[in-house]
Symmetry: C2
Subunit: 156 residues, 2 copies
């Protein structure tokens, strides 16, 4: 029941992009440096975000990435699902409509458990918008600015 580094790094990368994006595109190398994530690996993560329509890539020199939508229209759920795939705790056709029907659905009791876990996870992450994290980040960075500079800059 753990997220992989895809979800952890990827969410941090999108947040970094949202916080540090002005008018211009942000190069992935900058995000990788700030976040301490390998550039090559981050490329693979951002590819998933691009495929899901969360960011747009701009090729060529001075290129980079920008959010495809305003930060208050992107939920943490959108981001995590893009990176990790479906967030439900089991692969079960009763939870995911696309799947082929389960022949045991009639006598399956545990599916109620999986459905409730799945709904609680998705409701939670869909209720947090990227803009909420941007706001929180600005608050935290303002406080950090008042601290000594020998504070560790490493990130979870």
């Amino acid at each position: 029941m753990k997220l992989t580094t895809r979800g952890r790094y990827g969410l941090r990368a999108v947040l970094d992009l949202a916080v540090n994006s002005g008018d211009e595109a942000v190069a992935l190398s900058q995000i990788a440096d700030r976040q301490g994530i390998s550039m090559n690996y981050l490329e693979q993560l951002i590819a998933k975000l691009k495929k899901s329509g969360i960011v747009n890539g701009i090729r060529g020199a001075q290129g980079g990435y920008i959010l495809a939508m305003p930060a208050d229209e992107i939920s943490v759920g959108d981001i995590l699902r893009a990176l990790e795939g479906d967030l439900s705790p089991v692969d079960c056709s009763e939870l995911n409509e696309g799947d082929t029907p389960c022949s045991s659905a009639d006598i399956c009791v545990t599916k109620y458990v999986w459905k409730r876990i799945s709904d609680s996870i998705n409701d939670t992450v869909d209720g947090i918008m990227l803009s909420d994290l941007v706001d929180e980040s600005k608050k935290v960075l303002a406080e950090a600015g008042n601290m000594q500079d020998d504070q560790p800059k490493q990130i979870c």
Copy 2:
């Protein structure tokens, strides 16, 4: 973000035990047969449940397993945590008190996301008692009894 077969099989096994236990202990071979799970593998799962005080083992001939407590005092959360370990989506000292403190806690924004996911999962599974599943199971089995016998008996 998926449960492993430990959690899936293990929850089914405990439910099977709860449904099929009278006064006497239930042999693991019976549970394994009914649930279509390898006996050897199930042994390893039930060992975790025993260690967590959810079931008691009775050795020797005519031995088996019994619930260590009434089914309405055992939550699905207790069972899943025994089988899967901590259910939080990341290993983060801000979520798990035992861990060594995180040096980045002050500037970490995503920890709020992880905490909210963790709480929602744990609140959900702690709110479902084994007895709830037993009740549901009896209802489902009563209905299944009215159906033709050529229905699939395979389980999710």
